[in-house]
Symmetry: C2
Subunit: 277 residues, 2 copies
Amino acid sequence: MEIVTELNDLRKSRTALPGTLGLVPTMGYLHDGHVSLVKQAKEENDHVGVSIFVNPTQFGPNEDLSRYPRDLDRDLKLLAAAGADVVWTPTPEIVYPPSFQTYINVENVSQPLEGKHRPGHFRGVATVVAKLFNAFTPDRVYFGQKDAQQVVVIKQMARDLNFPLEIIVCPTVREADGLAMSSRNTYLNADERKAATVLYRALTAAKASFERGERDAETLRAIMSTTIAKESLAREEYVSAADPNTLAELNLIYDRVLLSMAVRIGKTRLIDNFLLP
Amino acid sequence: MEIVTELNDLRKSRTALPGTLGLVPTMGYLHDGHVSLVKQAKEENDHVGVSIFVNPTQFGPNEDLSRYPRDLDRDLKLLAAAGADVVWTPTPEIVYPPSFQTYINVENVSQPLEGKHRPGHFRGVATVVAKLFNAFTPDRVYFGQKDAQQVVVIKQMARDLNFPLEIIVCPTVREADGLAMSSRNTYLNADERKAATVLYRALTAAKASFERGERDAETLRAIMSTTIAKESLAREEYVSAADPNTLAELNLIYDRVLLSMAVRIGKTRLIDNFLLP
């Protein structure tokens, strides 16, 4: 497995890899969710590239950029074991040199949900992901369903800008008690860790109602909110039952629905979602 | 020479062209300036792709989108003779389908000069050019120095977003009397056509002063303004003596200078520039 820092070295490594390339963009501090993406990429492509970069432009001024967890040695061992061929670990100065001034806005689908609570977040995501697309020139790029809106934004950008690649979305990987794997779970203390299952419990309760035939989106949102309210360490930021393509809130569910939420557990902000049916 | 409309057909044509590809993006109604770009692209690459697309997103609401000149049959004959291998002539609906919502902003260098007088212009340019980059996946892309700020914006975007290609800038091609070739010259009546040489005359006067040792940028701007003011059919929109990289107006010229201007000749808006020395 090659590990490169400079863009030019990545281009050389890329040129030396014949056949198809699968790319897995990450911010490091890898968990089983990331590993599942690398393994699927390895199955579906001749080679796999991974980026590890905590992208400053997708963090707001009051967010957790400075304390975002990092463990590069452990990450590289996991990636080597999962079959990655090349890992790019650029510095912020390489990705954003002093003269940097180009940003990509995906206008409509970036507005609600995470976009509303994290202004500028998806501008940073779209911009860095476009840079990764052009740096790796992959055939397929792998993202987790855990970040549901990110997937919608990136699919829209790839289509709108004619990127010659396929976006592959892989299922959320969960702990035994249902908590979606996330690098940010490391922020949780023992009590918070127990309370954090509330996202999965709220989604599961709304799903059960949907499966019993409930098609009123407001009722599903109320079920999620009620579940979150009962958990004393949790504070709801939003709950949503939205169209999976436009992310507009639904009234009546005719077809599919994206149930999603952001919840504060203490100071830690967690997100999760179910795509139904 | 292949002529394709759908993006998928372009991708097939592109895949069938081995070796390097040079791309020449155009809005059609081709003149000798465009032809010179195609010929240089042909010399420097195994194959040449050309796009013909009058890009609506780079026109303001009061600009000349609806009357922009078109002559596809003539364009295709000129391109075949110049050695183009594939020509993409997409419809507006192909480039901008109803769900389209992604735009690229190159922030600083898009602000002054043309950007100030044509708000949103370079957002449209950057966005469509990124789409062309991804549609053709060229090795080299050819632009004319005539659109000096466009060149700066596109170079900045290509660098900032890691596009794996080289931007090649070719000299402005001029009529015998110095008028820079432009599809918009066709708007000029006989009297206006004579007056239109004022851009070249103003640039030439400022250049002569520079070559005599003048390094005060304001003096050069004044020389250009005075020349334009003497031409009764001409109305200055702006004159500039700017840093060629940042496009910031200069006071004292230490190194190179981009002299540029936009001038109305009757209802027709023309631009031109000299890069000195």
